[in-house]
């Protein structure tokens, strides 16, 4: 299984994050410095090796799961039964 995180690049304005941040302050969470909203995807896929799975996830992330103009991605892999 792959867990893929897609996040807005730091230089891209995130109005959703700002709105969530303001809401948290309104709830009294004073210490909140910054909130950024991203996406989380879980993929179950078949591969012979971790390397093969990683290569597939890289390509998926580049070609569809993220938009490289505005987003970065990161992922982790784990074996499932």
């Amino acid at each position: 299984m792959a867990k893929v995180e897609v996040t807005l690049k730091k230089e891209v304005h995130d109005p959703q994050g700002t709105a969530v941040e303001n809401s948290l302050r309104a709830l009294g969470f004073d210490g909140v410095q910054r909130v950024r909203v991203g996406k989380y995807l879980e993929l179950v896929l078949e591969a012979e090796t971790f390397e093969e799975a990683a290569a597939k996830i890289e390509e998926m992330s580049r070609r569809l799961l993220s938009n490289p103009v505005i987003e970065d991605y990161d992922y982790s892999l784990q074996e499932v039964e």
Partner: protein, 237 residues
């Protein structure tokens, strides 16, 4: 001279574009299904507004990976004229046929109202009948219309005359209040480097009849028709 309008699951301005070309401009127009692998014979292909594939993942992201977009890329690479309106603009950026990206409106609100845009580049097939500085009134209707370009791309766009429209007030002045979505540098529409692919968030096809409150959008289509007529004359001569 033939126009095509690509129809995806979730397109909802396809009929508006079709109607404008057929009933107002009296030109040939045909729908193109999203599952087509070949476009056929068209002079201009329009990607209409809407919410293709429910805007899942990112606006335009899934539509940009359909077979018809591969065919469209071939069409564009061979110089074919492509106009992306609203969601169509998002699809073109997602497909890499136009640079930059369209992000959530900075207000987080869906903006549905008339805006003014200023013509910044009238040397294109899409704007040949306009003058630089002309102010056009057209509606916008989008939630993800904030155009983002990193600084180096922004410079390139300016240097190459690829910014086609900017949001302005009715007197043609750039201001924050005139920008409905927080777009970088008030950019409302851009062209690719070659100038044969244009995308814009406002809806020129919904500003083509007096009953709709504006006919300012017609200049885009009349420019395209004029350009194609000139080409036909040149081709025959």
């Amino acid at each position: 001279m033939k126009f095509g309008v690509i129809v995806f699951p979730g397109s909802n301005c396809d009929l508006d574009a079709y109607h404008l070309v057929r009933d107002v401009l009296k030109r040939d127009v045909e729908y193109i299904g999203y599952d087509r692998r070949k476009l056929g014979n068209f002079d201009v292909v329009i990607l209409p507004g809407g919410f293709t594939y429910g805007d899942y993942l990112r606006s335009g992201a899934l539509a940009a990976r359909t077979p018809v977009i591969e065919a469209l890329a071939g069409f564009a690479n061979s110089g074919g004229l492509v106009l992306g309106i609203c969601n169509g603009f998002q699809v073109l950026t997602e497909a890499g046929l136009l640079p930059g990206a369209l992000c959530r409106n900075d207000s987080l609100q869906f903006r549905c109202r008339q805006v003014y845009v200023r013509v910044e580049t009238n040397t294109l097939a899409f704007t040949g009948k306009a003058k630089n500085g002309d102010v056009l009134k057209m509606p916008v209707a989008h939630g993800d219309g904030s155009y983002y370009a990193p600084p180096e791309l922004l410079r390139d766009l300016d240097d190459n005359g690829q910014v086609v429209f900017r949001y302005v007030d009715r007197d043609g002045r750039i201001s924050e209040a005139a920008n409905p979505n927080g777009s970088t540098a008030n950019i409302a529409g851009i062209a690719n480097r070659r100038g044969n692919v244009v995308g814009l968030m406002p809806h020129p096809e919904r500003a083509g009849e007096r009953a709709l409150g504006s006919v300012d959008g017609l200049v885009l289509f009349r420019s395209l028709i004029g350009h194609l007529q000139d080409r036909e004359v040149a081709g025959n001569g």
